[in-house]
Amino acid sequence: MSHTPDLKQTPSQTVGPYFAYGLSPEQYLYDFKSAFTPVAASDRAEGEHIRLIGQVLDGAGHPVNDALIEIVQADAHGRYVETAEDIERTGFAGAARCGTGTDAENRFIIETVKPGAAAPGDAPRIDVILTMRGLLNHLFTRIYFDDEAAANAADPVLQQVPAERRHTLIARREVSGARVSYRFDIRMQGDEETVFLDL
């Protein structure tokens, strides 16, 4: 049973346009070490190495150049990182952060591995936090994979999403030579507005 909270939550505020040197300094070439980078898995991490690529599109369809994407995911075996020592040992950080302001097309590009299913019955997925100027609360969404149709059809969270909107959570596999990418655009408004989750 929930009870009356003793304290009230601190209100959310927008990240604003100037987060670059505070949150992603190395990506934006500031002289300050980044706590998180756009790399969730180094070359030596096990699993299929992939890139997550996408744009954040505003209500006019324009790509946003001051958005910040954060991800958390399980490794190729479906395991989450538990400790900093895990990261050292495996090369898998399980988390990444990428601003859209350093790419000519205002994309986020995250280097990672394709996750395994974190629990029986779950589809492989990546959890996403989106912040940007003009967004007063960060938003949660999820990336699923278009080559996991059977798992997606059984995933308990995806099934809570209205059927006609589920496709907005599914990334598209693109293979170019040896490089595997998944394209995942985030649309803030319009007919194809991305599903955001109230976690």
Binding site: M1, K8, P11, Q13, Y18, F32, D66
Partner: protein, 236 residues
């Protein structure tokens, strides 16, 4: 049949701004228009990113020293400290608190910031800290200046610090701003005013003579309250 499960309390929408606010123009095209889709989850599904002590450098919490080139940064030195707590009043230890801000003149070290105010060669305006066992963090920095931002005619942001906090779960993530007591610009700022009226006071730091250090720096206290967890009966 039911069992007890630990679940995160929801985001309290009486505390947070709405996603589209007519006063803050950028929200018009950037706030989603559809309802957020509610998802039932166990806390086990809500993993926070992992970070260790290794990511905190010796000077990361001291913005008056972490970017020094040839002298002291200009402006009013201040200590900002407080606790990260959950709604039950429990401390949130060992969690990452990141801070970024304008310099004393109201200028950010950012290529997009074109405000006609000087940069400070000895001030970057970025820092980070981990909370201790009691959930306490501490920064030494410079009080930021107000600055214009073109949202509307004669628009000025109040003096503020940006804070980013994770907490222990993916869904306790919070990005917020800390403001200063008595700032006349608060009444005119659409971002501050977009916050529900009864929650705005929680964004304003408390000046503290106890934290103030003689001959050195003024002290401000700012507690940050994240979502907490409850034991809740669940359908099984």
């Amino acid at each position: 049949m039911s069992k007890t499960t630990t679940v995160l309390r929801p985001r309290d929408w009486d505390s947070h701004p709405k996603l589209i606010d007519s006063g803050y123009k950028s929200t018009a095209l950037r706030g989603p228009k559809q309802w957020l889709v509610p998802v039932k989850q166990n806390l086990a599904d809500l993993r926070s990113p992992v970070y260790g002590n290794g990511i905190i450098g010796a000077l990361d919490g001291d913005l008056t020293r972490n970017a020094v080139r040839n002298g002291e940064p200009l402006g009013e030195r201040m200590i900002v400290t407080g606790r990260v707590l959950d709604e039950g009043g429990r401390p949130v230890p060992n969690t990452l608190v990141e801070l970024w801000q304008a310099n004393a003149c109201g200028r950010y070290v950012h290529k997009v910031d074109q405000h006609d105010a000087p940069l400070d060669p000895n001030f970057l305006g970025a820092g980070r800290a981990l909370t201790d066992a009691e959930g306490r963090y501490k920064f030494l920095t410079i009080k930021p200046g107000a600055y214009p931002w073109k949202n509307h005619h004669n628009a000025w942001r109040p003096q503020h610090l940006h804070f980013s906090v994770f907490g222990h779960y993916f869904a306790t993530r919070l990005v917020t701003q800390m403001y200063f007591p008595g700032d006349p610009l608060l009444a005119y700022d659409p971002i501050f005013q977009a916050t529900p009226a009864q929650a705005r006071e929680r964004l304003i730091a408390r000046f503290s003579m106890d934290i103030t250090e003689p001959e050195y720096a003024l002290g401000y206290e700012f507690d940050i309250v994240l979502r907490g967890a409850d034991q809740t009966p669940m359908e099984s």
